[in-house]
Symmetry: C2
Subunit: 239 residues, 2 copies
DNA sequence: GGGTCGCCTTGTCCTGGATCAAGGAATTCC
DNA sequence: GGAATTCCTTGATCCAGGACAAGGCGACCC
């Protein structure tokens, strides 16, 4: 149910505001933002709705306005590997714009979400006329590549405990006041770490026993970050 | 030891020929190719020479003229994960052009190699003037993304045997006459499959015992592709 | 209230594969 | 040529963690 906003009911501040906040478009002229807003489509998704599936032709690029989109990959064995969960202000699927073979992954709403769809044809046309926009796209894709490459690191870390520690340390940086709020269920986190929910539970339990963290519902409180880091380093050292 | 060719000793046919063969530049005008050739640097690498290392600032993008370049990632634990081995005609490191944080991986010559270095500044400038080149870069990066995403599939397949079968089936398509010639040592293949050389050896041994393949040095001969495929499907089915 | 459903936790079992070790084959070096 | 490496293979051991099962704890609905 994509709705194409007509100028009359378009809350321009909201739309261009979201566009401006996006890494991809910061610094663009108000005029260009207006052009983009002009052909942007607002799409609402219920929890678990698919935004797109692997192999589908690109409709355009996406910008999360609210909610969270789980971009994941289902391997030949049917196992789902979370690639990234995109939240408000983040853009994705730039790569597919120029890909003849469609999306390389699936995207599904983790929770009720609103995404801006910036259709393929007009944005490609604009890229053609705004070289700096092209460079920005390259930059954005390069950071996505970086994320993927970072995932390889995680997946090749043997221990689940080590991956967990790595994840905790990485996310506690960005977290408010020493607490990490989980985006999805613990099972999703387990998938992201490439393990089962049982093992995740045990691993968190062990850390809790040592008073390094405490877990309550979807909130993980970090009690002793230095100790976690030390533990991570020790685990890594034992190669 | 990068050598900057002067017009005099520059074999233009060789250079522009290589450029033209590259996916990235096919279809560009002779004039543009000439411009690119004009600032291209030829660099020779001995076996095991590093072309760049993680974190270094981008010098430009690379095009393999001969030999093979192993782009890999060393995770925090020191384990090396092969991302891809680039061979003649392939380009890489486009992503780093627009990245402020330098290369996200290491690149090392598997064997004596020659690469063309297309320096960052002039190629960025040219991209600014040739929007279609920008789109091509996007396309190229999107196919690299695809490769990475594909690697996730492999790494999340639990069995080494299954990953091996997957690899064999995938590569036998591209292989000449039912034989696959390994790019590097078996240890490198093991790394690519995310396992140890011992386990790889055992796995290949088991397949050999069943007369499905035979292994001789760096050549793997596929005897019964349908059986391999059936076995793969069976392994996957048991999820 | 009680029933249903999804999520999390804990217990038990068992296997795939990492690791160590050692011997053979193939390369490279002098 | 032989020595020195590096690579490959096979054997033996051992443990992380996946799979299954069962029980607890919400949340939601009627």
């Amino acid at each position: 149910m994509p709705t194409r906003p007509r100028p009359a009911d378009l809350k321009l501040t909201g739309l261009t505001g979201t566009l401006r906040c996006c890494q991809l478009f910061t610094g663009l002229s108000a005029e260009d933002l207006g052009i983009i807003a002009g052909f942007t489509i607002v799409q609402k998704l219920a929890k678990d709705d698919y935004l797109f599936r692997e192999g589908e032709q690109s409709r355009g690029l996406y910008l999360v306005q609210s909610g969270a989109i789980n971009v994941h990959r289902v391997n030949v064995a049917g196992k789902e590997q979370v690639i990234h969960i995109f939240r408000a202000g983040e853009s994705f699927a730039e790569a597919a714009l120029a890909s003849p073979t469609g999306y390389p992954a699936d995207a599904r709403a983790v929770e009720p979400s609103t995404v801006l769809v910036i259709p393929k044809a007009p944005i490609l046309e604009l890229i053609g006329r705004r070289p700096d926009l092209a460079l920005r796209m390259l930059g954005s894709m390069s950071s996505h590549l970086r994320v993927l490459v970072g995932m390889l690191d995680d997946l090749t870390l043997k221990d689940v405990e080590t991956r967990m520690l790595n994840w905790l340390v990485k996310h506690s940086r960005a977290a408010r006041g020493g607490s990490i709020h989980l985006p999805g269920t613990k099972r999703v986190l387990a998938a992201e770490l490439g393990t089962s929910s049982e093992t995740l539970s045990r691993t968190l339990g062990r850390l809790r026993d040592r008073k390094l963290i405490s877990v309550s519902g979807k909130v993980i409180a970090i009690h002793d970050l230095p100790a976690l880091q030390a533990m991570l380093r020790r685990n890594l050292g034992e190669t």
